[in-house]
Amino acid sequence: METELAIVGSGPAGLAAAIEAAKTGVKVTIIDENPRPGGQLFKQIHKFFGSEKHKAGIRGIDIGHELLEQCEKLNVQIFLSTEAWAIFDNGKALGLKHGNNTTEKLNTRKLLLASGAIENPLAFPGWTLPGVLGAGATQTLMNLHRVLPGQRVLMVGTGNVGLIVSYQLLQAGADVVAAIDILPQIGGWGVHASKIRRLGIPILTSHTIKEAFGNNEVKGAVIARVGQDNKVIPESERKLEIDTICIAVGLSPMAELAQSAGCQITHIAELGGWTPMHNERMETTINGIYVAGDVCGVEEASTAMEEGKISGIAAAESLGYLQRGKANGLMKESQESLNALRAGPFATQSKLGKEKLIERFHKC
């Protein structure tokens, strides 16, 4: 099987890249191991922020539908339930395993890895008990499969994911008895915190989870206050009667495929950990292999879409479908958009992280 631009991952970055490239005439093939496309978008039932061109005010699920429709109109080929299990020849071929367990080699001229990120675990006594699961996992169960993981929930972590999932748990009919954070301040945006506070969900900063207990599944947890050294303050322990503990302590890029393809990776804490290096055109240290979205720095769906666009435009230009001048103009637009998204005080870390990443690319 042959294509011109192979994209691993059909989340916002992959879809946005496919659209930009397909618009210019590039033959695009998207591969996704999930039975449904859209990555994390279809779990985001809340309205997105940003500006109109970032699809602000539209729910993640609807943005997903829009992007897919555009891909369909542009004849983008999408293989679902298909794993890209290996990359050969510096990105010129992929080993695919389809859902029916048949395998195939896909030859391509350019490759975009937009495989996203995974949730971080948090270890504490009892963390392996059934009933302890990721906040994103909870979103998947609730918003994709329409099943609650439990009824009384403790949310660990108050970044945007922890705050938003707490809100969504209430929409789905569960109770959130508290959202805790080890830091003295809330991690996520004030508006997300405010909306769960007025619903009556307590937010306990400077708190940690000491243990989860229960015979075969979570029946309760012990939380405690911590001092400035993050150590538990004696006698501050409290028992909570809950059946579910959601872990929302950040995401890490899934850089394995890029790494196995030979792309150089680097560790940048501000971006979530180990991530493949890329330049301003989203190209990695291997010519013809691009990255976009959370896989090269955990940020937002909006930045994922812009990075996807840049990589799609860059690939199209490289393939000869776009003139340099036009490509540069389009990439400049997306770059300005990215700069705007990264300009606020909450994006300082990601902005810094991306600057470091691109700097390291140029130095290596």
Partner: protein, 166 residues
């Protein structure tokens, strides 16, 4: 910077009244007007985009805090549903002699019914008084963010921001 919001998720009264999206009390009392409790610079401007009278200004840098022009604002409530942060409310401090009319975004089931008596909650989720449901708007263009309007004692109009069905 915004200590109470950062540590508790609730704006202090001082933090609140200093916001450019919160109109001064005398204009709230002339009501109805949008009260935009948006206190942090995040890239976002659907409120400005949806306002039919240009009463909300953010400008070219979409990280700017929204500024409300209480004179231009008609209290139509479109911004209540448009705000992805659910941070906008319409307050009419002059609905009747003793009551204010508050409109809030509401994304839960069941929806209340007009005429229901419900608990009125403050920003900390604490019940401060009772409220009577006056109107529920669920237009398709609100995209599933219903706008629920209810009356409460006037003096609570800058406190009550949510309801709990009995």
């Amino acid at each position: 910077m915004l200590n109470m919001l950062r540590s508790s998720g609730v704006l202090s009264e001082q933090e609140l009244m200093e916001l450019p999206g919160v109109p001064p009390m005398e204009l709230v009392e002339k009501g109805p007007v949008a009260v935009i409790e948006c206190a942090e610079m995040i890239p976002c401007n659907p409120c400005e985009a949806c306002c039919p009278t240009g009463a909300i200004k953010i400008g070219d840098d979409i990280n700017n805090l929204p500024i409300i022009d209480a004179v231009k604002c008609t209290g139509c409530g479109l911004c209540i549903a448009a705000c992805p942060g659910l941070a906008i409310f319409v307050v009419n401090g002059t609905h009747t002699k003793s009551e204010a009319l508050i409109s809030i975004p509401y994304e839960f089931l069941p929806l209340p019914n007009v005429g229901d008596q419900v608990e009125a909650l403050d920003r900390q989720g604490k019940k401060v008084c009772m409220a009577k449901i006056v109107q529920i708007r669920n237009s398709k263009k609100f995209d599933k963010t219903a706008i629920v309007s209810f009356t409460i004692p006037k003096e609570r109009c800058m406190e009550v921001r949510h309801i709990r069905l009995s």
